[in-house]
Symmetry: C2
């Protein structure tokens, strides 16, 4: 803990005065009163980035799906459940943000016609119809003056190919890619950063260490004097 | 904490020598490498029952779905993900158990043909086919010499009607019923116990308090000298 505080205090204040909005954790799409679709995201990577951004002097707003993690001290936290709620919280809190980092594992689909009551079990095959959720990052990138946007890609295969495809399709300056099997749920991860200059692998390390490296990369890419008024 | 330890030490050893198997938490049914169907169960009620059973002198085996909770000290813990895994763990650990308490919120359905790789998002409606999961409690009750079985029912409406129907259908000596909106995720709950003598409401209290009350009820219902050899 002491070592952790020492390291934290030694982070260069590269983001002083910057306002950062971060999404983290899984979303949960209701099937009925008790059941829903979610994913294996623990929220640890997004929370680590929020902590690292605070260390580096930023103002941090964290829009978080359901996770038992304690938010880092000093972050403004907005808890949400579904992807639609996360989109609403992001759009309502984007004003004057300099940086948007979309770490949350947002459900790509929601359940059409969820039941308010718990569906009773029967012996038959049940069919769930799923419809695509809004793409939060695309909504932010489509704003007239978007903040500096960082995307995350979690893939189970073809990591670099899928990630670069996602970065170009969304026109993102920076994307962090990771394999689900490397990072989901654990305290460590390994990342590859993709930008216009190419790929920058960040070898296996704690999520906090990776978060600091990612944010130093972001700080270097920011236009000078970009703080919004 | 001290008060908690004092209360714990004052529990009557009504279950000394008894072997208790408890399921707890949600199950997670994979859709693909990252996504799955789960439910809002936190595991807190099942873990509280495990703790209370240990206080009362029992040997406790806890088969737990994925939850960040710390298991009570002294319990044998088996971690599982899906309903099928939970069934396998229960059946493999039933030998010589005196009491089986099925608290887990087991997914009623699993996803047919889950994908090993993460399904790529597209703009179309996706259809998931779900098939019924095995009923763990029914499998246990169908054994030639089942342990004393306690079921749980979590309902969003018609609590007593649905719960008594479940108890009779499964031929259970005792069932604890609760409303999802009262208990899921929180530290408190309220229960209604249903047995052949009728209904026994346990008013709102901490889950540990309710767990102790439930186990005293169980201890009273056990046949004398029922410990399995």
């Amino acid at each position: 803990i002491l070592l952790d505080q020492l390291e934290a205090s030694q982070q260069l204040k590269l983001l002083t005065g910057k306002r950062v909005l971060i999404t983290a954790g899984p979303t949960f799409e209701a099937i009925d009163a008790a059941r829903g679709i979610t994913n294996l995201s623990s929220g640890k990577m997004g929370y680590a980035i929020a902590k690292a951004a605070l260390e580096m002097g930023a103002d941090v707003t964290l829009v978080s799906g359901q996770t038992p993690l304690l938010p880092p001290y000093g972050a403004e936290v907005i808890k949400v459940t579904s992807a639609q709620q996360m989109l609403n919280a992001v759009m309502a809190n984007l004003t004057q943000k300099d940086i948007f980092i979309a770490v949350a594992a947002v459900a790509d689909y929601y359940v059409l016609n969820p039941s308010e009551q718990k569906i009773k079990k029967d012996a038959h095959i049940l069919t769930l119809e799923l419809a695509p959720n809004p793409d939060i990052l695309a909504n932010v990138m489509n704003l007239p003056e978007p903040p500096f946007c960082v995307g995350f890609a979690a893939e189970s295969e073809n990591l670099l190919e899928y990630a670069e495809h996602k970065r170009r399709k969304k026109n993102l300056p920076l994307l962090a890619a990771n394999l689900i099997q490397d990072g989901f749920g654990g305290d460590e991860n390994e990342l590859v950063l993709l930008d216009d200059k190419g790929t920058h692998p960040l070898p296996r390390a704690s999520k906090l260490t990776l978060a600091r490296q990612l944010l130093r990369h972001v700080a270097n890419m920011l236009p000078k004097s970009s703080t919004k008024e």
